[in-house]
Symmetry: C2
Amino acid sequence: MSDQKKEIIAGLIAQLPMFMGILLEGGNFRTSAGLNMSEEKTLMYIHRHEGGTMTDYSKRVGLARGSFTAVADSLEEKGLVGRVSGPDDRRKYGLVLTEEGKKAAREINSRFRQHVAARLAPLTEQDLNSLEKALETIAAMAEKLRNRGNR
Amino acid sequence: MSDQKKEIIAGLIAQLPMFMGILLEGGNFRTSAGLNMSEEKTLMYIHRHEGGTMTDYSKRVGLARGSFTAVADSLEEKGLVGRVSGPDDRRKYGLVLTEEGKKAAREINSRFRQHVAARLAPLTEQDLNSLEKALETIAAMAEKLRNRGNR
DNA sequence: ATCTAAATGTTAGAATTCGAATCATCTGCT
DNA sequence: AGCAGATGATTCGAATTCTAACATTTAGAT
């Protein structure tokens, strides 16, 4: 019986990318310091949660591991991040923000938030409450699935 | 006061791609008939809502207009869709599914749903209810923003 | 009627990303 | 200790997507 529910959910999930598209469209990202979307995302995620591994960040940013190497290289060349060898496991590398990287991350975060806020302007106070609650629910579910899915 | 709420929302929205990633990871999409992700998405969206224009579908699929032309070309070459000149506006072209295209779309839809259902297996009945409600809320908000944002 | 600006779809070269192979390191087993 | 398999990161050619042109058509103003 919950199978039908899952089908409905699957249909709704297929629409999420469009929601993202609506919110991000017209964004003047990419203009700050010659960074592309993946580089900006990476800075944002590192800023939010420093000390992750390459694989961690590649998942967060939504790239294949192989693709993320180039992003990290580019950010390193630009002096925004540094690679740090993992103390326990020498295969792993962590990423840390340089001072300049922190500054860039703050700017990007700020611009992102302003852009989203502007996009959300047509919504009523009640809509915003509903939306916030919905997104929190999804974040909670993502966390549950992430832990279980790691096997 | 609602500015702070919008900031929270912005932060949560930044996490949505990861949620999508968790749900889709390990998907055996791309194996059905030599179609790539964009082509499969396109078929799914056309199946769901036939008669849209190129630009409509490019937004749904999440591609730039220029990129979508190649996708439509490929699907047309494979005999899965056809271009239909718009009757009212000669700039516009619509996409329609051929019989074969409909069959392919049904298959893709089915596999997608099964995959998502399997991914959602760890969730309880209550979780599923919450998730469904949350996704419906988001879909509703997307609709509101889409209409207003069209200017 | 004519002109200007905007919208739709396409093209082509540049930029980005994928995915399979590879190297280095770690873990578990014997 | 030594070996087999697993894991983290990288490399690189192929596939995909972006972006800035462009041609065509429409809408609006004069």
